[in-house]
């Protein structure tokens, strides 16, 4: 198969974006909408809500910690077989869950098995999108990630309807059938062979080289800090509003408004990321700083209009963050190592996610309101911004495409004597 020098930036790439759209919808949309099953599980197994919510927590943890495995496998076999296997595993987990007789059964089937399936699908797909695009990478990633937002809207009422018609066992069977579409999405991921891929070795060597790559490690630290603060509003906003005296329905409506502006933010940021010259990391820092500022302002706002405006602004900037996060990575590590890089990134940044929510809850319990937790979350985001400034070429005026193949070439240059190796690369 002939190798391309440049990513196609279109053509079949848009089908890959479509596949990624449905993928992110089926993975994260299902995870986010799983809350409607909680009530049913609590009633059916007569367990506390805290123990039931471990199901989704285990699923998310397995998905994020398993990402490096998915990435390593896709480096070796290509994304298509890995994603299709992941889809089958995810659907199988849901199917087995429908026969559950105890909560442990659900932990293992949905949490572990479906989680493994999701780990094998998400990171390889996003990496594949990054492979297919270079000039329009941010836009493509942004469009792909809108799947998450739209599916959260669509799946909650759908699951509710399934529950009322089929009860939770039947509903799980049908969600399993829905998750099987991940296999079809995987089929769309045609392998692409780029010139850069030849420079790197197998998955083990790639992982090793990534762990010694300074900019990548700094980026990981930045993202972990960002992740710690990122999810706080989604978890605590409704409770904070109720503390201020809002009714549950307007509070939930405010979250929906934030979700819509999140969607708009993703697409707008994707387009902007490609239109603006220079490293994409600068845009990431911009959106990140704004998100941190808005987050810290939440406790200050008391009136309804101020809160609504803040929610819209926060939604926009936090949505704008997401596609840019994926676009920065190829600039740092090159498309050859993109799969491993993304997998490793997902795994390490998940630590931030795991840390953030309990920390915020702890602050709430200690201080009595959410002021401290919002301010601390904003501080984490701003700290992430600070680390982002230390990334290479942050203040340069060159665009990303030139620096990309160069990063890959300088890696071995750092470890070996420069002159003889230059000739070898050519």
């Amino acid at each position: 198969m002939a190798r391309r020098a440049e990513p196609p930036d279109g053509g079949w790439g848009w089908m890959v974006v479509l596949s990624a759209f449905f993928q992110s919808a089926l993975v994260f949309g299902v995870l986010r909408s799983f809350g409607v099953f909680f009530v049913e599980f609590v009633a059916a197994f007569e367990e506390q809500a805290a123990r039931v919510s471990w199901i989704v927590s285990i699923g998310i943890a397995v998905q994020q910690f398993g990402s490096p495995v998915g990435s390593a496998l896709s480096t070796k076999f290509g994304p298509r077989p890995v994603v299709m296997t992941g889809g089958i595993l995810a659907a199988l987990g849901m199917l087995l869950a429908s026969f559950a007789t105890s909560l442990t059964h659900l932990y293992l089937s949905i949490g572990l098995l479906s989680g493994c399936g999701w780990a094998l699908t998400f990171a390889p797909t996003m990496a594949c999108v990054s492979c297919y695009f270079s000039r329009r990478r941010s836009l493509a990633t942004g469009l792909a990630l809108t799947g998450v937002g739209l599916s959260s809207f669509a799946f909650s009422p759908l699951f509710q309807w399934l529950l009322s018609y089929y009860a939770w066992r039947g509903a799980l069977i049908l969600v399993s059938a829905l998750s099987l579409h991940l296999v079809a999405c995987g089929a769309l991921l045609r392998p692409l062979f780029l010139a850069d891929d030849t420079a790197v070795g197998g998955p083990g060597a790639q992982l090793n080289s990534l762990l010694h790559h300074g900019p990548f490690l700094r980026y990981t630290v930045a993202l972990t800090l960002i992740n710690t603060g990122y999810f706080i509003p989604y978890i605590h906003l409704v409770a904070h509003l109720q503390d201020l005296g809002w009714d549950p329905l307007p509070a939930a409506f405010l979250l929906s408004v934030a979700a819509i502006s999140d969607l708009v933010g993703r697409v707008a940021s994707g387009w902007l990321g490609d239109a603006v010259p220079g490293p994409v990391a600068r845009l990431l820092m911009l959106w990140n700083t704004l998100t941190g500022v808005f987050l810290a302002l939440f406790p200050v706002a008391q009136s309804s209009t101020a809160l609504v405006a803040l929610a819209v602004a926060y939604g926009f900037t936090s949505g704008a963050l997401t596609p840019v996060v994926f676009s920065v990575l190829p600039e740092l590590v090159g498309t050859g190592r993109i799969y491993c890089g993304l997998g490793l990134l997902q795994m390490i940044e998940s630590l931030g996610g795991l840390l953030g929510a309990p920390l915020s809850g702890y602050l709430r319990d200690v201080t009595g309101n959410y002021t401290a937790s919002f301010v601390v979350a904003g501080a984490f985001l701003l700290a992430g911004s600070g680390v982002l400034i230390t990334l290479p070429h942050f203040f340069s005026c060159f665009s990303a495409t030139i620096s990309r193949p160069q990063d890959l070439v300088t890696e071995p240059l750092e470890t070996k004597v420069p002159l003889p190796n230059e000739k070898q690369e050519d």
């Binding site: 059938a177 829905l178 089929a187 160069q406 070439v409 240059l413």
Partner: protein, 330 residues
């Protein structure tokens, strides 16, 4: 000696008269002014029903309805009782007309009650009260106070046993599964809970098969019926009955038992659709590749193009490459 006896006697008489004197002193201001506006019933004679109200077995419930001469609609108040209680019903009428000309009656349903209810007036407000003890289901119902001027003004107190809450939507379960039907009421303590299942209009008590049906409840105000090893015939209407001293109430719960084939059919349909999609996608790809392969006879041509682009990349990269080695030392 006689003086001493006289003194003692006088002291004893004073001691005996002291409570009466105290009462008189207390009652003097109210006798002088008429009614104390805060408590209109201090001058009313204490009835026997009031004494019963202070009895520890029963609790006293006081309920109030206010009517004005402009009330066009009859006012109703719903009162929930689950155990025998002493009840004090108070109606007050605010009117600008002459209070003495108002005719006051109390009715239970349509029957007029006996004429021994105290009525009092303060300013332009007329108060009437009715005391009763409700101890069995016959005494439940609607009690009304009627003020008759030019038109009749009516206030009604409706006594009901607590309502039960089940689920409004049907409970869905599967063959071989187990399910729990719950009935509960707020702040109530029924004497007894029973479950019935009905096919059509016949109600059959539930609980005959020991392993299949288990009735228990963690609190007094709820009952749970657990049915294990469901079969399709177990579906249908279920009724939970709560028996109170003052009556009974019931609630209907619908149970639907589905077989696994019901969700399995759409599942298989969707699986078939996914397999079809995957096949189409892979076939399309093979087809387009086959189309390209005859053109790939010029593979060398492509490789030459590749080398050309590599060369140009190499030239472009020379200058930035040199620059990069400095910060790369870190």
């Amino acid at each position: 000696m006689r003086a001493l006896l006289g003194l003692r006697g006088l002291r004893g008489l004073t001691l005996a008269l002291l409570p009466f004197l105290c009462l008189l002193v207390a009652a003097l201001p109210s006798l002088a002014d008429g009614e104390d506006p805060d408590s209109p019933f201090t001058t009313l004679p204490v009835q026997e029903d009031d004494m019963m109200a202070i009895d520890s077995n029963h609790s006293l419930e006081i309920h109030n309805i206010s009517l004005t001469e402009y009330s066009t609609m009859p006012i109703e108040k719903n009162i929930t009782l689950d155990r025998p209680s002493a009840v004090k019903l108070i109606c007050e009428l605010t009117t600008s007309g002459d209070l003495n000309s108002v005719n006051v009656t109390w009715k239970k349903g349509d029957d007029v009650l006996e004429n021994n209810y105290p009525t009092s007036a303060t300013g332009n407000i007329l108060y009437t009260q009715y005391l009763l003890t409700i101890s069995n289901s016959k005494q439940m119902g609607s009690y009304s106070c009627l003020f008759q001027e030019e038109k009749v003004l009516r206030g009604t107190f409706n006594f009901k046993v607590p309502e039960l809450h089940g689920k409004n939507k049907p409970l869905i379960s599967y063959v071989g599964d187990s399910t729990v039907l719950t009935c509960k009421c707020e702040d109530c303590f029924p004497l007894n809970w029973t479950w019935y299942s009905s096919n059509g209009s016949v109600q059959v008590p539930v609980g005959s098969q020991q392993n299949k049906h288990v009735v228990n409840g963690t609190h007094a105000n709820e009952t749970r019926l657990r049915i294990t090893q469901l079969l399709e015939e177990d579906g249908g209407s279920y009724w939970c009955h709560a028996l109170f001293q003052l009556g009974e109430s019931e609630e209907h719960i619908e149970l639907v038992v589905l077989s696994y084939l019901v969700p399995l059919k759409p599942f298989l349909a969707i699986v078939a659709e996914v397999v079809l999609l995957v096949t189409i996608i892979l076939l399309c790809e093979k087809y387009t590749q086959k189309k390209q392969q005859p053109l790939d006879g010029g593979k060398e041509f492509e490789q030459i193009e590749q080398l050309k682009s590599d060369d140009t990349n190499g030239v472009e990269n020379n200058a930035p490459r040199l620059r990069k080695t400095e910060p790369a030392g870190q």
